[in-house]
Symmetry: C2
Amino acid sequence: MSNNNSPINSNHFLENSLSKQFYEVIFKRRDVRSQFNGEPIPEESLRRILEAAHAAPSVGLSQPWDFILVTDVETKTNFQSHVSQERKYFADSLTEQESKIFEKIKIEGILESSLSIVVTYDPTRGAPNVLGRHAIADAGLYSVCLAIQNLWLAATAENLGLGWVSFYKEQFLQNLLSIPKTIRPVAWLCLGPVTHVEQTPDLERQGWKKRRGLEEFIHYEQWSL
Amino acid sequence: MSNNNSPINSNHFLENSLSKQFYEVIFKRRDVRSQFNGEPIPEESLRRILEAAHAAPSVGLSQPWDFILVTDVETKTNFQSHVSQERKYFADSLTEQESKIFEKIKIEGILESSLSIVVTYDPTRGAPNVLGRHAIADAGLYSVCLAIQNLWLAATAENLGLGWVSFYKEQFLQNLLSIPKTIRPVAWLCLGPVTHVEQTPDLERQGWKKRRGLEEFIHYEQWSL
């Protein structure tokens, strides 16, 4: 496997399995802020990325997602200003030490990336009897996230960068894009060609946080065992 | 592309790209209920699947997920009984026509599959200052779903089947596995070798719902345009 960031030894891969290239995509994927070069996205790539998102599983086959493609500079600039304001709110909550690190961290590439994709959740789709959602209302929201991860991995497979921006108030985004009140915005994604993809997450490279290994996240039979 | 279910023409794939096998996995993935054969999961496969889940992006690099591996027959049987009860609650809400279709639909493979993996969300991890979560509290929950989709796709790449069971009350599952009150169960996943993977989702094959094409889910610049 070409990506040194992968914890998985390529010798373990079976011949004729689908897994080798698949895992390369899984471990190559990063949350991109700084490397967008503004080049256009090939139309075929964008189509494949959206088809991948749309091929995600969804509770009761409700397909509760929508994709709003945003290129308009005024819209992007308005959103970027809002995000900058939210950045300040967050910065104000930090300790002095955290602030010093956070100052250097770029949190979005809204204006530099070629395309923004806003992904939304429609709880009314397929309602009232959405199969598999009667006991867990959030199951529909979960489906939208599964679509987003498909989209993100497909962008990576297409050698594009993608960054999820979450420094915004949902109400602001709803107003900005005339999203109906019944529909919930879930993500603002920045997509586009990049100069390169970093091997280590930005937050780790810049000292905000270190990833922890898998072992401590696994439990057997019960939480406490 | 060998999978007829894919809307994507393989002629469009670039040479030397990561994309061909990757998209095969994306379109091969199904929500599996009926095809588990109970064979053991190769240890190396399980390891790669969990590493893929753990390689998911997470808000503020918080890695807020945990994985509880359940093989105990008594635990699985107790959960399966609870799910059967929840199935009845849902069935009671259906119209006569819906009921007839739902009767034939299998909603879980808890006892037939080789392993159950319960995925949970810990909102306290990395708190209080989780970078990217101050404005959207659910961003942590979203991260857990991204990990689940990585896990699901990796299972598919390993030629295993995976089914997400969502007919349960979170409180029941919390008690069953001694999950602390601060931790939220997000999914019960059934994993294991299968006789085959269907090309069409069960709910579509059995007439519950038909998938709709991508076109109507795309908006340009604003929701209404």
